[in-house]
Amino acid sequence: MEIRRRNDHIEISELDPFLAELLRQIPASANPDGVQAAEQRLFSPPSNGKQTELCAEWRIYVEPELRRLFQTATETVAADLQQLNGNEKSFANRTLRIPAKHADEWLSALNQARLVIAAKNNFTENELNDHFRSPIGSRRDLSLFQVNFYGFLQESILRELES
């Protein structure tokens, strides 16, 4: 897999089917529905609990705005990912072109997905920092790989934005 900036796009090329499938999973992975820990992480309280009035107002006025913001980001990413749904042979390497103006939405969606997956699996800090973990052998390993892969993409997009 290679990531590079090309004019007004960030291009991810030589995507093998497995990584392409992980990319396709971003919008679904970012959905916290049904998992309280994930919901609580995406919509964390604005105070340490002493400001009950503030927290109540926050839920009424701010949370809906945040939901819209997060949803817009995942919808933009889902639309960009349509490129991976062509009629090419399923084993062929693919290329994804992300418009540079969508970089913020990608950063947000990748972050949402990482936070939701980490919350759903209750990953420890040690697990998250273990980048030399043995090959994927369980669903949990796959989820951790997903978190790390999305983190790598975030880093790459940030680097391309800075360059």
Binding site: F43, S44, N48, L66, S108, L115
Partner: protein
């Protein structure tokens, strides 16, 4: 977002003029007096006083260091070095005070930080 009357400062002595420039009923008796102004002491609870508020960012094992640095630069307009210093403080000490000042602005910063999915809270300094 409407969060209440935090722009006003402290206790205020408000003089109510009682529409006092107009004559009262004593006019009929030949003397003209105006009603004495009523002084109302308006008190506010400590919560409403605009003491400085702090924007605190807490450690999170998932958010990337480079991402957090970028967010601090964008939200607070900090130069990269300062943003990195705060990011490292969050990482090493578990929290960092990013900004302190008026409540409304602090709330706005916390809202922006939540938009970037950082763990941020608003705390009163005293």
């Amino acid at each position: 977002m409407s969060c209440g009357p935090w722009q006003d400062t402290g206790c205020q002595a408000q003089i109510k003029a009682n529409e006092g420039i107009f004559p009262t009923s004593n006019e009929k008796a030949g003397t003209m007096t105006t009603a004495e102004p009523t002084i109302e002491q308006e008190t506010r609870s400590e919560d409403e006083l605009d003491v400085p508020w702090q924007v605190v960012v807490h450690n999170d094992p998932v958010n990337l260091m480079s991402y957090v640095t970028m967010v601090f630069q964008r939200v607070f307009g900090y130069p990269r070095e300062k943003a990195e210093r705060h990011m490292l403080e969050v990482h090493q000490k578990g929290r960092s005070i990013l900004w302190s000042g008026m409540r409304e602005r602090a709330e706005l910063y916390v809202q922006q930080l939540h938009g970037y999915l950082l763990l941020a809270t608003l705390e009163k300094t005293c």
